[in-house]
Symmetry: C2
Subunit: 154 residues, 2 copies
């Protein structure tokens, strides 16, 4: 059926980030929508951040556009330009190749929910603004190219 039964999809709070960068992700619960919906042109996830949760480390993509639609609750979107509050109906777009690291943080005391889409481009890679890390299709490296042992999670 075209309408997605979001609650029937098992939420996960896993991340492939190496320690200690994985710690802020424990309060992010995501549900991948593309497999259940039959979507292949782009990716989509339903994400709930519990109070204190982060959407990701502050990051940017070299080859893949990203777009977010806020659905409920409130979060702070942090990027190189500063802080902006995201409320239901608010939309953000991060075009590929713009090295403006961004993430959402739930600084409130109730959960917030958003839907995030990505270009799903093979070979995508990018970087993180606040930590010594890059990502490639194969995994994570330091900014000097030395690999981390952790594997990216799909």
């Amino acid at each position: 059926m075209p309408k997605i039964d979001v609650q029937a999809i098992e939420p996960r709070n896993a991340t492939g980030y190496p320690a200690p960068f994985d710690a802020p992700m424990a309060k992010r619960w995501f549900r991948r929508l593309a497999p259940v919906g039959g979507l292949s042109d782009f990716t989509a996830s339903h994400v709930k951040l519990e109070p204190g949760g982060w959407s990701s480390q502050r990051h940017w993509h070299a080859l893949e556009d990203e777009m977010l639609v806020m659905v409920s609750g409130e979060a702070v979107m942090i990027d190189d330009g500063g802080r902006q509050i995201m409320r239901p109906g608010d939309i953000a777009i991060w075009p590929k190749g713009v090295e403006n690291g961004h993430h959402l943080v739930n600084e409130g005391d109730v959960p917030c929910v958003f839907v995030v889409m990505g270009g799903g481009v093979a070979g995508d890679h990018g970087g993180y603004s606040d930590i010594d890390m890059l990502f490639t299709p194969d995994g994570y490296t330091h900014k000097d190219g030395t690999p981390y042992a952790a594997k990216r999670m799909w």
Copy 2:
């Protein structure tokens, strides 16, 4: 800025549909998000349906996935499977090539808003379930291939 100033985008209620299929579209106000956001991997529009408004004629895409996130208000999503109510946070996905014509109708007495994404695939074409019409990259035809004079609008 990544956060989109939706209200600063001029809404349009135009459609390329030939008469009389254009009439139900007058209460659909859309804002294209990709140009202002710098998005090129997929398309995205912010859509407001006034009471009585239709999202489109009931249609399907041959080559392009489509996804919708309900943001505010309520609409009825109608497809070959029947009717489903779409409320804030509800998500629908229509995979390419599935000939399940669908649209949203605002049967209430207040506006509703959704965000809709598409694959943005060149050469996309498809059909309409309730009327004698197909669409191609070049325009609209009857189901026997005879063209309508009206041009598709981008």
